[in-house]
């Protein structure tokens, strides 16, 4: 899988390149600003572009804007945004109603190599990845008494969180050490309790859950 990296901090950029190479990815480009990344992707599209949010020249939100542009111009290229901080509003903006081939993670997540590599592969193959911190913030909004989320069981809430993170039923089953069939049952129950239309497609399911959480 070919990956392009856009990160202005040399230390992190080189570290990331080494890490990806180590995990069996081909590093197609290693640049330090958004314009170069866009140019490179246009010339030689990789399967995934990994980019930081704060990039030159203003070090504000160049990376986020570049990610949105990339997703518009090159729907086939997966986009994974890495950042020191994660924000609900950024996630909403980044996804923009389409959860295919997109990811948003804290930079910290690179420390779990296997998990990080799996996330890139998921984004590269059209799936989605959302940082648990963002999911937690979204779930946290629904703490008021009377919220339908309160009707979910402890286990159902755990499943909901993992769904929102973009994980497949199989991955959820593995994570919670339960059978895939059980996960499916939980999903049906969750969708019924939250009055959501159940969907077989993983990415539509993620979208429905995120829409619900962000409503």
């Amino acid at each position: 899988m070919r990956v392009a990296i856009c990160e202005d901090s040399t230390l992190f950029r080189e570290g990331l390149a080494r890490l990806l190479a180590e995990s069996g990815f081909a590093v197609a480009a290693c640049v330090d600003n958004a314009d170069e990344l866009l140019t490179h992707v246009a010339q030689d599209p990789p399967e995934v572009a990994v980019l930081d949010i704060r990039l030159p020249p203003t070090h504000t939100d160049e990376g986020l804007r570049a990610a949105v542009t990339l997703r518009e111009r090159h729907p086939e290229v997966g986009v994974l945004v890495l950042s020191q901080y994660v924000r609900v509003s950024y996630a909403v903006e980044l996804l923009g109603g389409r959860t295919e081939g997109v990811g948003y993670l804290l930079k910290d997540r690179v420390s779990d190599l296997a998990e990080f590599a799996a996330a890139i592969r998921r984004v590269g193959s059209g799936g989605s990845v959302l940082d648990p911190v963002v999911v937690e913030q979204l779930v946290g909004r629904h703490r008021q008494p009377g919220d339908p989320l309160g009707r979910l069981t402890e286990r159902e809430r755990a499943v909901l969180r993992l769904m929102a993170e973009g994980r497949t039923n199989m991955a959820i089953a593995e994570r919670l050490a339960i059978a895939e069939r059980t996960v499916e049952k939980h999903c049906t129950s969750i969708f019924a309790k939250l009055d959501l239309e159940a969907s077989a497609h993983d990415h539509r399911r993620v979208l429905a859950v995120l829409r619900y959480l962000n409503a």
Partner: protein, 585 residues
């Protein structure tokens, strides 16, 4: 320009119409009254022969009667609601029988009425300067003076009649006791006069000094004259009578002098105008007004709409509870409050002077008001700045403590754990868990650092500016928040304004979540005319009070420290709307 007076010792303000009365008419009336008086006295028997025989003392007596009558007419015209004028006229008329006593044979009617003027004089002295008898003691002494004057004069006349016993005996006894009665009442009058003087303020004393002085001398001389009269013949009889008459002439003249002086007071208003135009230091307005109004204790308060109260020239609040002897006069410009004067209650007697002085000083008052307003704002700003500095200081301490207790400790433990792993290098089974431990500690340190950085400056503000940061606040708020941003492309907002607005929205939304029990909220950011409006509203319980809860006070401080202003509209049960306007030109 309008003035409204209220005071603890305020008398009803006389609407003075004297200005419209012509001085000529007043003078003619006074002269006519004097002429009539002389005519009456002459017709009743005081021929040339009588006048020549008694010379000086007759002339002095006539002068006393005439001056009371004529000046009484003038005062009655100048101050129609003041009883002093009519009392003086009455005294002048009551003087006529006294003037008859120079005839070869005292007419009985004159004898019977010759003491009445003393009662009126006592009334006049006690009623000065308002024309009303203030307290019970004043009324009692005045009443006694009238009774004594009437009874003793009557007794004096009755003694001369062939009365049957025991009436004659009673009349003689009464007549014999007249000097003691005169002494007693004069004494009481003196005590009350001195008491009034001691109670009077500096400004009041200035106004009543001439008349009080003359009336004290007149009272003492009157008592002396009565005593000397009772033990004839004695060498003191004539001097005592002369002194008494001279003092009685002086009383109305002193009153006239006071009247002239109040006219001159008005003249000082013209001086005030000149002084104000030449003023070099702007903060002397109070002193100028104090000099014009002759009230050294004058306080001037200037209206600040911002704080909804009056402040002095330094911006400190002015207390409008004037206390005894002081009164408050409000000075307005059109409908808008301009200033207040806290002045001596005696000035209520001269409303026109106060009004004229305020009118003359209107422009200077307005200037001074602006300056005072500015000083009041500075004072408030300094206070909120101090609180913000303290807040900043405690924040820095907190950050230092967080770094010390969190990140530094964790990194230290990482170094130690890695040291152990290094030492265990030969035994990989032991090194791997140590490395995992070190990794976990580093990630925890990253978490700590994120929290600390957020405390220093919200990263989202750096990345997305105010609009994006507020959207993020709305996105994580448990209450549904609608955000409208009308920041227009008027260039970037100053960073301090962005930060202030961010924290205001943050705190306001936190309040909505904590207290309002709201189902929805909204945030509106709008920029126009060099101001940023930050509005946070909800449909919750309302009843928010900045006086309680430090959260709202903190918001007000933040707004003020940035030159802005916080208003809260929070009727109970009808939601809360918090508005902050921040200058951002």
């Amino acid at each position: 320009m309008a003035t409204h007076s209220t005071g603890t010792t305020a008398s009803p303000r006389s609407t003075r119409t004297a200005a419209s009365r012509s001085t000529g008419t007043t003078a003619s009336l006074a002269v006519a009254a004097g002429g009539t008086w002389l005519l009456v006295v002459t017709v009743l028997g005081a021929g040339q022969e009588v006048i020549w025989r008694n010379g000086l003392i007759w002339a002095l007596g006539a002068l006393a009667g005439l001056s009371f009558l004529m000046i009484g007419v003038v005062i009655a015209r100048e101050h129609p609601r003041n009883q002093v004028g009519p009392l003086m006229v009455l005294l002048g008329v009551a003087w006529i029988p006294q003037q008859m006593l120079f005839l070869p044979e005292d007419p009985l009617w004159a004898l019977a009425l010759c003491g009445v003027w003393a009662g009126v004089a006592c009334h006049l002295f006690l009623a000065f300067p308002t024309g009303r008898l203030g307290s019970l003691s004043h009324r009692v002494v005045t009443g006694l003076a009238y009774i004594t004057a009437l009874v003793l004069s009557a007794a004096q006349a009755l003694v001369l009649l062939p009365l049957p016993e025991p009436l004659r005996h009673i009349a003689v006894a009464l007549d014999d006791s007249s000097w003691q009665a005169a002494l007693l009442i004069s004494g009481a009058l003196l005590v009350l006069t001195v008491k009034r003087w001691r109670r009077a303020s500096v400004t009041q004393r200035r106004a009543i000094a001439p008349v009080t002085g003359a009336s004290i001398v007149a009272t003492v001389a009157f008592a002396g004259d009565r005593v000397a009269d009772f033990f004839p013949p004695n060498p003191l009889q004539l001097p005592a009578a002369l002194v008494m008459l001279a003092a009685f002439v002086a009383v109305p003249l002193a009153y006239l002098a006071g009247l002239m002086r109040s006219r001159m007071d008005h003249g000082r208003v013209a001086e005030l105008v000149v002084h104000l135009s030449r003023r070099e230091r702007p903060d002397t307005l109070r002193d100028e007004l104090a000099a014009t109004l002759r009230d050294p204790g004058l306080t001037v308060g200037y209206w600040t709409a911002e704080q909804d109260r009056y402040v002095d020239a330094d911006g400190r609040p002015v207390h409008l509870d004037p206390g005894p002897g002081r009164a408050v006069t409000r000075v307005d410009q059109g409908e808008a409050p301009l200033a207040v004067l806290v002045h001596d209650a005696a000035l209520l007697e001269q409303p026109l002077l106060v009004e004229a002085a305020c009118a003359a000083a209107a422009l200077a008052l307005e200037n001074e008001r602006l300056t005072a307003d500015l000083r009041a704002r500075l004072r408030q700003l300094a206070a909120s700045r101090r609180r913000m500095l303290q807040w900043g200081e405690s924040e820095r301490r907190r950050i230092e403590r967080d770094l010390h207790d969190g990140v530094q400790q964790r990194l230290l433990s990482v170094a130690m754990t890695l040291g152990l792993a290094e030492a265990a290098g030969a035994a990989p089974g032991r090194a791997v868990p140590l490395i995992g431990e070190a990794k976990a500690a580093v990630l925890a340190a990253l978490d700590d650092l994120r929290a600390v950085s957020h405390g220093i400056h919200p990263p989202v503000l750096t990345e997305r500016g105010l609009a994006g940061a507020v959207k993020e606040l709305a996105a994580v708020s448990p209450v549904t928040v609608t955000v409208t941003c009308d920041l227009a492309p008027a260039g970037p907002l100053p960073q301090s304004v962005e930060t202030a607005a961010y924290y205001i929205v943050n705190e306001a939304l936190a309040n909505v979540t904590r207290h309002a029990a709201a189902s929805k909220a909204w945030v509106r950011l709008a920029r126009h005319d060099g101001h940023l409006l930050v509005e946070v509203g909800d449909d919750g319980a309302g009843g928010a009070d900045p006086a309680r809860g430090s959260g709202l006070a903190g918001l007000a401080d933040r707004a003020e420290a940035n030159g802005g202003r916080l208003t809260i509209d929070s009727p109970p049960g009808k939601g809360t709307v918090l508005r902050v306007v921040l200058p951002c030109a």
